[in-house]
């Protein structure tokens, strides 16, 4: 490929591990045939009546035809959540250790071209931050970096994981995609969960939005969860940034199907879905109000009915009332005491800028009390790490 020639977002770069295209191909085929506006009320009723939903049923629940049924769907979703998870809701917090980024995603605050304050925690600062978080009683942590293989290289991430293993029982990674042998390395150090958002499952839209950096390779990103499982991770999380694609329903559909297909291929994999939608941020050129709270709830409910055993996580970008509302119905994991700034848990740094603005600033105590107020059981520990190499 020549310099500055348009590239195919499906072509892997030389250092990227290739994955069997089976899952990607099926997602692409299913989303092509999914036509939300063709779904009828009868399709929605049929989906509501089923014990096990097909991708077509799932599509019906995401369609405009399902909107009048939202309350009914919510009742079933709540029932399924309680059946599979009881009233337990897990609490965790994210830690942003670096906000350097190699990518040029037009909607993101960390965009390489944005003139924000960049920062990266030193090993000592990572230790201080994590010790501070652990002192709140949380035992689950999600390590996030901007997607820079240069500034936060695998050795740096490995240092973060090894430090986290001293303080937490459950460690998740939300960093740039790795090859499976690199996931194996992180797993051996104590990480068990990987989250990567595909952002949008429409390759054409994807190419428009991801204008530079390794992230522009759609196929490599989409196969991240599969590589993570091949590397020994126990669970993988999926997300589509609702609002990036003109028809957000198709992205929600593709994302749901992605988890569904991978679970069928790797039956032991713990699947979970994150529920981000586009929110106002420092710089981008997209309508950030395309997806309403009602729309987002519809997506959360459809995931629950389609994959009743899957986890769901709600972003701190949503306001407390909404978060409490969905956690009462279908969300099984909620962050608390979040800071999206670098060093935000201990003020060890001059706090590099955050990726987005929070809407829920509640600390661990407040979230715990809110859960209890809803009759739910806050869970601080839900994991025994057994997979570490000595």
């Amino acid at each position: 490929m020549g310099f500055r020639e348009p590239m195919d977002v499906m072509d892997y770069l030389p250092e990227m591990e290739h994955t069997d295209p089976e899952v990607l191909d099926r997602i692409m085929t299913l989303q092509q045939t999914y036509n939300p506006s063709a779904c009828t009320a009868a399709d929605v009723r049929r989906a509501l009546d089923r014990d096990y939903l097909t991708p077509e049923d799932f599509g019906a629940l995401l369609s405009p035809a399902a909107e009048p049924f939202l309350e009914k769907i919510a009742v079933k979703a709540k029932h399924l959540t309680r059946k599979h998870f009881g009233n337990a809701v897990c609490m965790f917090t994210p830690i942003y250790t670096s906000n350097y980024c190699d990518n040029r995603c037009v909607y993101c605050g960390f965009n390489h071209d944005n003139l924000i304050t960049r920062a990266k925690l030193t090993p000592d600062e990572v230790e201080t931050e994590m010790a501070n978080i652990a002192s709140t009683g949380l035992t689950e942590i999600l390590i996030l970096t901007g997607e820079s293989r240069e500034y936060s290289d695998p050795d740096y991430v490995a240092m973060c994981v090894a430090t986290a293993a001293k303080h937490f029982s459950s460690i998740g990674l939300e960093i740039y995609p790795l090859n499976s042998n690199e996931y194996q390395r992180m797993h051996d150090l104590g990480a068990d969960y990987v989250t990567v958002f595909q952002e949008t499952y429409d390759p054409v839209r994807y190419a428009e939005l991801h204008r530079g950096g390794n992230k522009r390779i759609f196929s490599y990103r989409l196969n991240t969860q599969e590589r993570a499982l091949q590397g020994g991770m126990r669970g993988v999380a999926f997300g589509t940034l609702l609002g990036l694609r003109a028809d957000w329903r198709k992205d929600a559909f593709a994302c749901g199907v992605h988890g569904y297909l991978l679970q069928r291929k790797y039956p032991y994999a713990e699947i979970s879905y994150s529920l981000p939608r586009l929110r106002p941020c420092s710089s981008h050129e997209i309508d950030d109000n395309a997806v309403s709270e009602r729309n987002l709830l519809q997506v959360a409910l459809a995931y629950r009915l389609f994959m009743p055993f899957a986890g769901e996580t709600i972003s701190t970008r949503e306001r407390p009332t909404f978060r409490d509302g969905v956690v009462n119905i279908c969300v099984t994991k909620i962050s608390a005491g979040s800071s999206v700034r670098i060093g935000g848990h201990s003020h060890v740094k001059d706090q590099g800028d955050g990726q987005f603005d929070l809407s829920d600033h509640r600390g661990v105590e407040e979230v715990r009390d809110a859960l209890r107020g809803l009759g739910l059981q806050p869970v601080f520990n839900d994991y025994v790490r057994t997979g570490m190499r000595p």
Binding site: N87, A88, Y268, F309, L376, Q377, V384
Partner: protein
């Protein structure tokens, strides 16, 4: 020690209602145990949080026998590591083996569970394996050192009752160790049925946790389990199935 104790290994219990603890609020634990007159409660080791917050162990009343489970284990080796952690926490030697390699239905993996029973028994534990009701696998588990067998009635959390009734019945007849129905029991009547066919105990969690009145449902389960046990001991009357009984004996022509 009474005449009809539940005996697991060398321990005796008068209650045959085993409570699962993972699905309701921790504050409720004590009341549920009281109302259900429960003596054994399971707990997920993964949910314990020693010296930490919302630790399930802190909510267990004194005198209760804890039956820690290996929830989260996907292999015999992982089950052993979790069991060792349970022992460090002071939960004793009885351990419920749960090995699941299917995140969708949470069905137990019998082959790996047989290995785990052996591994844990060799390490001094009294394993109670959660399993698919398969008599051959159950025999293997018993031979490997299981203290009791815990077949599922139907998929966990499904509240669908004894879908596997006939297979559990075979296990009751064919095994010399207690058979405890572990999952899927949704109503007291189903718990009663399990006891009527000779199960040694019933474990329930979701059915109680999802009730509108949790303590009352615990009490209802206790009564149903007692009723079923009493009926089993009384020897249920015959139920006429397809064939009626002739009023004069069919074999009367045989003379002496």
């Amino acid at each position: 020690m009474g005449n009809d104790d539940l005996v697991i290994g060398n321990r005796h219990f008068t209650s045959r209602f085993i409570l699962g603890s993972g699905k309701f609020s921790l504050e409720m634990t004590k009341r549920v145990i009281e109302e259900g007159q429960v003596q054994i409660a399971t707990l997920a080791v993964r949910r314990t949080n020693k010296n930490g917050r919302e630790n399930v162990l802190d909510f267990m009343p004194a005198g209760i026998t804890l039956l820690p489970n290996t929830s989260g284990a996907r292999s015999a080796e992982e089950a052993l590591r979790i069991a060792e952690l349970a022992r460090e926490l002071g939960c004793g030697e009885m351990i419920k083996i749960e090995i699941v390699r299917d995140s969708r239905y949470l069905l137990p993996d019998n082959a790996e569970t047989v290995k785990a029973v052996k591994l844990l028994a060799d390490n001094g534990f009294q394993p109670l394996p959660y399993m698919m009701p398969d008599l051959t696998a159950a025999h293997d588990m018993a031979a490997a050192g299981a203290a009791a067998i815990m077949p599922l009635g139907s998929p966990i959390g499904s509240n669908r009752g004894l879908l596997t009734r006939d297979f559990i019945r075979m296990m009751v007849e064919g095994l010399d160790i207690p058979v405890i129905v572990d999952a899927g029991i949704g109503r007291p009547s189903q718990a009663c049925e399990a006891m009527e066919i000779g199960c040694a105990a019933v474990m329930a969690n979701t059915a109680i946790a999802t009730a509108s009145d949790v303590p009352s449902m615990a009490r209802a389960f206790r009564l149903a389990i007692e009723a079923g046990r009493t009926a089993y001991l009384a020897g249920p009357g015959r139920i006429l199935e397809r064939c009626g009984e002739a009023s004069s004996p069919l074999t009367g022509f045989l003379g002496e």
